[in-house]
Amino acid sequence: MEFKDYYKIMGVARDATEAQIKQAYRKLARKYHPDVSKEKDAEARFKEVGEAYEVLKSPEKRAAYDQLGQGHPGQDFRPPPDWGAGFEFAGAGPSDPSYSDFFESLFGSQGRAGPGNRRGAFRPGRGEDHHAKVLLDLDATLRGGARQLTLRVPEIDADGRLVSKERVLNVQVPKGILAGQHIRLSGQGARASGEGAPGDLYIEVDFLPHPLYKVDGRDLYLELPVAPWEAALGATVKTPTPTGTVDLKIPAGSHAGGKLRLKGRGIPASPPGDFYVLLQIALPPANDDKAKGAYAAFAAALPFNPRASLGV
């Protein structure tokens, strides 16, 4: 198991005061919070920082951790046999089950609150609801259909430790679901401790990038390249849409960035979204004499100053 240098993760000195540690945590938490951050490894970093803070903010855990010595990051680590003797850890951890093996080996299940000890009152007898987040391909909502979803589920193992297990579910994705919405699977949450019914599972949906379409709520956007003469003179061009290729009429006098709307051809939610086509003007290359001649004739025929609005 890898030794974790919590001081290094927090970017504080080993003799940092509680105030300095708190300050460092707040700054890093804001920077890497998955709901706010744009950093690509934000979630992993945020968890690491949360784990480090969990240890360093508690005088007992910090003292126990300091007793281990500096160690070397990456070095294979085993807790000493007398580890933890004389320290009492009160369970006060956040609800995140994904702390590292290193943390678990030091503080184990006593180091954190169990999932049932979180603030708030549950309806007695009923199993807890579970929440998960998945990335789906856009086709799942456009057409609906079964998808294999792999979820990480917190579980209490035989030793009473909170561990994260993989759970594969085959789920019929409801057609028309939007990013940020939840698929609700009744009875797929935690089992009740007593006789009660199991909780529900809520799966928050987000979409993987699609090669052609961009998603904005229930609407879809496609960037469609057209030739200059198609934009200027108007044309009917083949256009891919989620429901198949259509013949799209480009009005004469269209310009780059022009937006055409195909009503109701977005995500089939209720009400359905729209499909927007954003026009891009693609220029044919001038890579032979014939093409160069055509451009020259074009220039000779049209008195056109594209920079007129710049006053030059």
Partner: protein, 103 residues
């Protein structure tokens, strides 16, 4: 041959049908009802229907409440801070979406 486990679980879109009460949100987010009421008072959650006996929320309130709780816990924010952060996050998301669909 497909065993029952192989058959796909039928999922419903929670937001489309759900009408939530304070009690529902409290259970789903595992917080006290009082906490949900505070969210409403601070404008973090919007009540869609002021029923004579209880408040009703749309299904979208679940995501908002959970996000608010994460911000509260992870960033040690107070309610006013959560409300401000939520507004800014939504503005940021709107701008990012706009940027993404610009040609």
């Amino acid at each position: 041959m497909s065993s029952p486990e192989d058959q796909a679980l039928l999922g419903a879109i929670f937001e489309e049908s759900a009408v939530l009460t304070v009690k529902d949100l409290s259970r789903m987010c595992a917080v006290d009802e009082e906490h949900i009421v505070e969210f409403v008072e601070e404008g973090v959650l919007n009540v869609v229907e002021m029923n004579t006996t209880e408040w009703h929320f749309t299904g979208a309130a679940l995501r908002r409440a959970r996000l608010a709780l994460r911000l509260e816990r992870d960033l040690e924010l107070n309610l006013a801070g959560v409300a401000l952060a939520l507004e800014l996050i939504e503005e940021l998301q709107r701008l990012r979406r706009e940027l993404q669909v610009k040609p």
